[in-house]
């Protein structure tokens, strides 16, 4: 497999320099790098249809043939060696390039002027122009296959497919979903899905990689068809006749003149096509890409330059944006009155809010009010909302919804290494010798990040260990997969640590120099023998030893974890145990190693970073530190309350106690997302004032007094911070609908009604203010974040970011990290005789969380219309459950009805219910136990019983759902099979018809 250095997110370390000669001129190159990269760096126009710098050589198109030391060779497949002599434009090279491209045109009908892909970036069009092709010798031959429109998001036209294999390469080696192949042995090769000819029902996850990299219009986003071009919505019959006519007169006209017309049409499209950079609003990977729009119509998402993702996306990032144009979007404030909700003006809504907040503040004090920010809002919005709470209202009852997920991981890291963020970048995870994934379904929750692990595992044998209750995709791929009993991760992690110490395998030098508290830590591990761990966790001693040896022998270990660790009563402690193990084995302060809690939402990291927490100012500056508080008082011009406030879990309890009377909640369907929904709903109903900022009228809004319409991420400027601590800018694509406003403007309106007198006009002002008060982002400026530029905090005043933490020291007074001693405490709730099943729950790939946005995307809603519960075959057999059977799940807290899917992804009496919510949310079933330190709900410690209902429906996963498919893994496009075809000869070979590089006929 290619080891050529590629640009983009997975760029390797630069190789040793040497000199070669290209077209008579000396050029510096790296030994072993791909020759085509060197040629491109020189600015030499060389055709290269199948080559993509972010995928490495594919070698199917042959258009990059050059002479290397006198012999014809593909520039993409040739590694640089010192002293090479390269000719890119010799008669022989040019003739071979022309012949190669002529063959490509035999597979592709050029009708650029009426093609939706004619946007200036079509590789086939541009190569026709580059090679000055006037006429083709190889006649176009359609293939005997129909166009496939079965996928809701994209279509495949085999008759336009040039068989470059970029899509296959992307699917096999970048996304590593391993769905696409080409049947090279067939008389009429084409791209296949799971070895067959229909996309729907295959294992295709609609990630969009194939469409993004397709160099022509064979694979196209459906949203582009009939919309992108000026003439492409003409009746099909008329279009075909126009195409036939142009083809007919082409011998006289030549492609040159025809391309002039198509380029004029492409230039005219610029008027109606807008391209705006944004950052994905969904998960914490932080993919960034250009959004192409025509008015409010989203033409396509075009990823390429994002530091976190390059050309990669998942189904949500690539195709999940229609929700912004849903008719269900809120466009005006809503007020509850005696007859229900009615639309109103902003003035009336704000009058009501002002009056009530002032009355409550006067009668019960500012701490009777709570503010909950959103991890989907921007950094600037979190900053101004927490400022609104503290400075305008006078309370530290400020929190954000990362409380539901990642606060324990942050705590675990604060305790041990001092920063509550990923140790490095996604490139470090890809470069590690070993990746351990604990309690995380990365392929569905962080798809693009998971692709880097899958690629490293497939291409260079990176070791992969997965510990999870459920056998998900990463578990299937793992070298070691084990299934600990629920709530026992701390035990087996600590047992491994003890085993490492007992066998003298720990990194003594590293510990001596960089870590405090080793002896106490060693003593604290006394109970954690391998026998104890085996008995409690169900993981065999042999496996634990194996894992230990993998860690100590790996060239860098990254541990990734998510809700399977954090959403437990001991989530903070287990996170600490993970960090302890990494410190013990020297897996910090170096590339390709460290702790990687996988942030769930697009701005989970940023919401906490920018101070939406009850006990921290922005940058995790402690609220109780008088000097820090004075700094913010000076910066904000107000006195600030000195005591930490309530987190969102405590706020719900305070409502019940009657001490919290008002809540302002931004961008969070707390009813369905918080645990114990019935308790939350009851708490909401007790509020005297409940204000929600929202895009849609969610279940939470049903309890509100006032609902304010908010802008989506495509409708505002700002920044998000992803799981790599990477701050990235997003730009407004279009205005919010109706009277909706960005959350930062709404916060300012409320703050000013409370006497603030703020006049921010743009989010950049908020960022600059936050940076001026926060050493962690001291050097963050919008100018430094222009376009695709990013910064990873800490950011020094001069703008230097920190891709890798702890390089110099740990952020403790003595510069050293700390072991944190732990004891295991039982989960807060476990199955018993009455509630005998363990309830696990989590996301599905295609929906985001409960689905408030993704259910408004037609294709996603069709793909997975309802939640479902996975039942093991053994449990299904015992209880008489079949796929499609309606079940009533009952817990101590509530009930939910959902259809079953019998699957061996779960085992025994462990069941798994998906988070996407229709009528019933899984949180009707979860209780109010929380992590002991952070109050993150223990969603993963639920016990239920099942009542099998008489009704049976269809499989809740429709036939077209990708989970019904079967992958066809192979090592890339397997071009060697093409070369073995009897009708294949290398272009430019002796004995073939010579094609003269074309000039217009005279």
């Amino acid at each position: 497999m290619s080891t050529v250095a590629v640009s983009g997110p997975d760029a390797a370390v630069a190789p040793k320099l040497c000199a070669i000669t290209i077209n008579g001129r000396s050029a510096a190159a790296g030994e072993g790098e791909s020759l085509v990269d060197v040629i491109n760096r020189q600015g030499i126009g060389l055709a290269q249809v199948c080559y993509h710098p972010q995928m490495g050589p594919i070698q199917t198109c042959d258009t990059c043939l050059v002479e290397v030391d006198g012999a014809l060779a593909r520039a993409c497949g040739t590694r640089v060696a010192a002293g090479q002599t390269v000719m890119t434009a010799s008669p022989r090279a040019k003739q071979a390039q022309a012949e190669a491209f002529d063959r490509i045109l035999g597979n592709h009908l050029l009708y650029c002027t009426v093609c939706d892909n004619n946007n200036g970036d079509c590789t086939v069009h541009n190569t026709t122009a580059l090679l000055k092709v006037e006429h083709q010798q190889t006649p176009y031959r359609p293939k005997p296959y129909e166009v496939d429109n079965s996928n809701p998001f994209y279509r495949y036209d085999p008759n336009q497919c040039i068989l470059c294999g970029r899509c296959v390469q992307a699917c096999q080696n970048v996304q590593v979903n391993e769905t696409l192949t080409i049947d090279w042995e067939d008389p009429h090769p084409r791209v296949l899905w799971d070895g067959g000819m229909q996309i729907a029902g295959s294992s295709c996850v609609s990630c969009g990689h194939c469409v993004t990299v397709c160099p022509c219009n064979a694979l196209m986003e459906k949203s582009m068809l009939g919309e992108a071009g000026l003439l492409t919505d003409l009746p099909k019959a008329a279009l075909n006749k126009m195409i036939d006519f142009v083809k007919g007169v082409e011998p006289e006209v030549g492609y040159g003149a025809i391309l002039q017309v198509s380029e004029a049409e492409a230039a005219m499209r610029e008027e109606h096509t807008r391209k705006t950079k944004t950052v994905c609003t969904y998960c914490g990977v932080g993919c960034s890409f250009d959004v192409w729009t025509k008015g409010r119509h989203i033409l396509k998402i075009q990823p390429e330059h994002g530091d976190s993702n390059g050309i990669s996306t998942c189904v949500k990032g690539k195709f999940g944006w229609d929700y912004v144009n849903s008719e269900e979007r809120l466009t005006k404030p809503l007020i509850r009155d005696t007859n229900g909700f009615r639309e109103t003006t902003w003035d009336e809504a704000l009058d009501r809010i002002e009056a009530k907040l002032k009355q409550l503040k006067r009668d019960h004090g500012p701490d009777s009010i709570g503010v909950i920010c959103s991890s989907k809002c921007t950094n600037e919005e979190s900053y101004i909302m927490q400022k609104m709470g503290r400075a305008a209202i006078g309370t530290n009852n400020v929190d954000n919804c990362s409380r539901y997920c990642q606060s324990p991981a942050t705590t675990g890291l604060f305790r041990t290494v001092g920063y509550g963020g990923d140790a490095g970048s996604i490139t470090d995870i890809a470069a590690a010798g070993l990746v351990i994934i604990i309690g995380a379904n990365s392929a569905e929750s962080h798809p693009v990040l998971a692709t880097r692990i899958k690629r490293a595992h497939k291409e260079r044998g990176q070791r992969l260990i997965v510990a999870d209750l459920r056998r998900h995709e990463m578990a299937d791929r793992a070298d070691i997969f084990f299934r600990p009993k629920p709530g026992t991760d701390l035990i087996w992690l600590s047992a491994i640590s003890r085993y490492i110490i007992d066998n003298n395998l720990h990194s003594k030098e590293f510990i001596d120099e960089w870590v405090n508290g080793f002896e106490e830590y060693r003593r604290s591990l006394e109970p954690f023998t391998l026998e104890y761990a085996e008995r409690m966790s169900g993981v065999s001693q042999d496996v634990l030893k194996q894992v230990a040896h993998e860690v100590v022998t790996a060239d860098g270990t990254c541990i990734c974890w998510a809700m399977g660790v954090t959403q437990h009563c001991g989530g903070s402690d287990t996170s600490s145990a993970i960090s302890n193990l990494l410190l013990l084995t020297g897996n910090y302060k170096r590339p390709g190693a460290g702790a990687y809690p996988l942030r769930g939402h697009n701005n989970v990291q940023g919401a906490s970073d920018f101070g939406a927490m009850p006990n921290y100012f922005p940058g995790y500056q402690r609220l109780e530190d008088a000097e820090i508080r004075r700094k913010f008082e000076a910066g904000w011009g107000v006195s600030l309350p000195p005591k930490p406030g309530l987190d969102n879990h405590e706020m719900a309890e305070a409502i019940q106690e009657g001490t919290l009377k008002a809540m302002i909640l931004a961008g969070e369907d707390m009813f369905t997302s918080d645990s114990n929904s019935n308790f939350i709903g009851d708490s909401f109903s007790k509020l005297e004032l409940f204000v929600a900022f929202e895009l849609f009228f969610t279940k939470t809004c049903q309890y509100a007094d006032i609902v304010l319409p908010a802008a989506a991420s495509l409708e505002k400027d700002g920044t998000f911070t992803n799981t790599e601590r990477r701050i990235q800018r997003l730009y407004a694509v279009f205005d919010p609908p109706g009277e909706a406003k960005p959350d930062w403007q709404i916060s300012q309106l409320i703050a000013n009604r409370m006497g603030a007198n703020w006049n921010y006009t743009h989010p950049s002002e908020l960022m600059h203010e936050a940076a001026s008060l926060t050493p962690l982002f001291a050097g963050v400026r919008y100018e430094r974040l222009e376009g695709y530029n990013t910064l990873q905090w800490p950011v020094a005043e001069d703008g230097t970011g920190t891709p890798l933490l702890y390089r110099d020291k740990f952020p403790f007074p003595d510069g050293k990290a700390r072991f944190y001693n732990l004891a295991w405490i039982e989960p807060g709730e476990q199955p018993n005789q009455e509630y005998d099943l363990h309830l696990n729950n989590g996301r599905v790939l295609e929906h985001f969380e409960v689905g408030n946005m993704t259910y408004h995307v037609k294709g996603i809603a069709e793909m997975t219309p309802e939640p479902f519960v996975e039942i093991s075959p053994e449990l299904a057999g015992e209880r008489g459950i079949e796929t499609g059977r309606y079940l009533q799940l009952e817990s101590r807290y509530g009930m939910a009805r959902v259809r079953a899917v019998v699957s061996d992804r779960v085992r025994g009496k462990e069941i798994f219910m998906t988070l996407n919510t229709h009528r019933y949310t899984v949180n009707y079933l979860t209780g109010s136990n929380t992590d002991r330190t952070t109050h993150t709900p223990a969603y993963k410690e639920g016990a239920v019983r099942i009542r099998v209902l008489p009704d049976r429906g269809e499989n809740p996963l429709p036939k077209a759902n990708f989970r019904n498919g079967h992958r066809t893994p192979q090592t890339g496009v397997e071009v060697e099979r093409k070369w073995k075809r009897a009708d294949y000869k290398l272009p430019g070979s002796v004995g073939l018809v010579q094609i003269t590089p074309t000039e217009p006929r005279r």
Partner: protein, 157 residues
Amino acid sequence: MAIPLQWKKSDEARAADNAADLDRRLEEARLENGEALIAFYKLIGALHRKQVFDMLTGAVSARDSLIEKATAGLDNPEIINATRNVMTMTRLLGGTDPEVLHAFADNLDAMRRQPAPGATPGLFATLRSFLGRDARRALVTMAAVLNAFGRALRVKK
């Protein structure tokens, strides 16, 4: 005590909102582009008086049908051949030195101004007229043209 209440915007309310939003945007555009609008009104007034809009309205509403009719015969082999032949003729004319044709036309004019011969020339007189330098030059050129045409016919076969 707030009980949960559902809410859904009615289609009528949505339509009214869309209309209000459009009104607002139209008003903003009107104020921003006032001078341009005044010039535009003058233009459309003139076009209207010439009944251009009636024709355009008809063309726009029948766009698809018009395009289908206009393209109906486009893939007809005769149309394609004729178009190609026109292009080829254009190429031929473009490749011909206009000075030659100009001089030829002048010579024809001069010839027409000469009185017509009284009797039909005899055989030897006719043959003698082919022996002149100018005639020989033209004959060779015509032979070359005939050869090129003959080669083209051979390729076609």
